[in-house]
Amino acid sequence: MAVNWLRKFASRSAATVFPVLGRQGEAALHRLALTPGIELVDSPRHASVLLVAGEIPADRFEPLRRVHDQLPHPFAVLWFRSEPWPHLEDVTRIDALDALPEALIAAHRELLLGRRDSASRILPDEPPNPWEGLGDFGQGGEGMMGGVPYGRPMAMNMMDDVRDGLTLDSLSFRLGPFYPGLPPGMAAEITLQGDLVQMWSTQLAPYPRALDPVFFAARERPVPIAELELARAHHHLRRLFSALRLAGLEGASLSALRLARELSPGSRLDGLRRRLVRSGFFRLSSLAGGALEAEQARQLGGPAARAAGLDDDLRSQDDGYRRLGFAPVTQSAGDTRARWQQLLAEIEQSLQLARRAERDKACTERMDSIETPRGPWLEQLPQDGSSLLDELMPGLEWGDALATVASLDVAAAERSLGEAPA
């Protein structure tokens, strides 16, 4: 009886959702972040609902099984625009974005009221290595460091630290592809000593990021610059959202998202910028490091290159833009801090251009070269640049490393899945 009452009461709590993102699943994330009554959490241990948003490629099934089994009992699983695995019992699939928040809240409530069974585990209940009864004391270990005590070997290392040369243990692990601090779909094999990255090798590239259809239209016909620039600002603002969330500025991150949602030529960035400057984001946060060299910057292109001092911007070759008085903005430092300053400046510039373009009814004139928010698009769309991180990460502290990843738009660009390819 008492338990029943407790569960009834608990069912009124916010639905705690751990999102596992598939291709172009970010739309669901951005929607849910702005929905009251839903709390997006960073660890599956803090969640009651696992949301699989977007189609998961087959090479990420195994990690998904692992995350699926890491939610504590009781938990529910929802598949959004994604085909549930056939062997699962009573799965819920949702396709309408508008129905998603309601479905999540309902799943959480039903779970707690006992009207819905907790999802069953997928993986067999076995330790990573058999250990029970093995070894010197039956704990699976041998001698001082040998064996697999409790199912895992102990860390042992003879590699000198990259900074002070001490030979202490390093920890190697694979992170992602569903780690909320990394771009969706990205996985890397990382070696740490202390909290400093010693080695980083990107194993799975992040999912290509959907470009707004207007960029594809611009390859075929002149499009209004206002529309193009708003799409650009929209793209940047959504990246700002994840970075600010990572930096612990939840309120500001949501304002960025809200600004993106209600974006119009009349929108102003001043409020958000003032808020970031006054909160000391540029001075206090983990923004040191991640400086790109000229060659790296050129390869990556886009705002990251301009933050490193290159003034490459295909928009300056377009007469439509030239008439609006466009000139690329640049920073010089090329590090994480400079990239955020650059991004803010570019959003402001885009909004300004959009205002002017709307007034002048300006349209693009060149169709063979488009500057996308991710970088230049000449013959082909901007390609994946995540291998760049392998050079950039070693030597960075964990917080700086993740902030650097967030500040670099390394994912390839692709057509939004909603529209048919031309």
């Binding site: 005590p149 920890l171 592809p177």
Partner: protein, 115 residues
């Protein structure tokens, strides 16, 4: 009596903390092994996390021990400060000045940065 109250408060705080955990957890089964694997966003570790962890701020901790040792002298000093007046002020000024030299030197050598 005060000490008894303090002890009771300590024990009740500790007991409450343990009870809130223990009562609901009595009947819970042990989670499965896959659930017990550390969360790495779907990734896996090569080894246990416990290791010879490279603490990047180790010189700072040693500096702190030296500093803290002398700070403990300052509590009794604070009590007689007003009574002793200028003399106490001078003595502590000297003491702090000596130690500030240590901090400045450590800062110049980059001790407060991650090694």
């Amino acid at each position: 009596m005060e000490l008894v109250a303090l002890l009771l408060i300590l024990l009740i705080g500790l007991g409450a903390g343990l009870l809130i955990q223990w009562l609901p957890m009595r009947h819970q089964p042990m989670p499965t092994w896959p659930q017990r694997a550390p969360f790495l966003g779907g990734g896996t570790p090569d080894s246990h996390a416990w290791s010879r962890y490279h603490v990047r701020y180790y010189p700072m901790t040693l500096l702190l021990i030296a500093f803290e040792m002398e700070m403990m002298f300052m509590y009794p000093w604070a009590v007689v400060f007003v009574e002793k007046g200028m003399m106490a002020m001078m003595e502590m000024g000297m003491f702090l000045a000596i130690l500030s030299v240590g901090i400045v030197y450590a800062w110049r050598e980059g001790v407060f940065k991650w090694q």
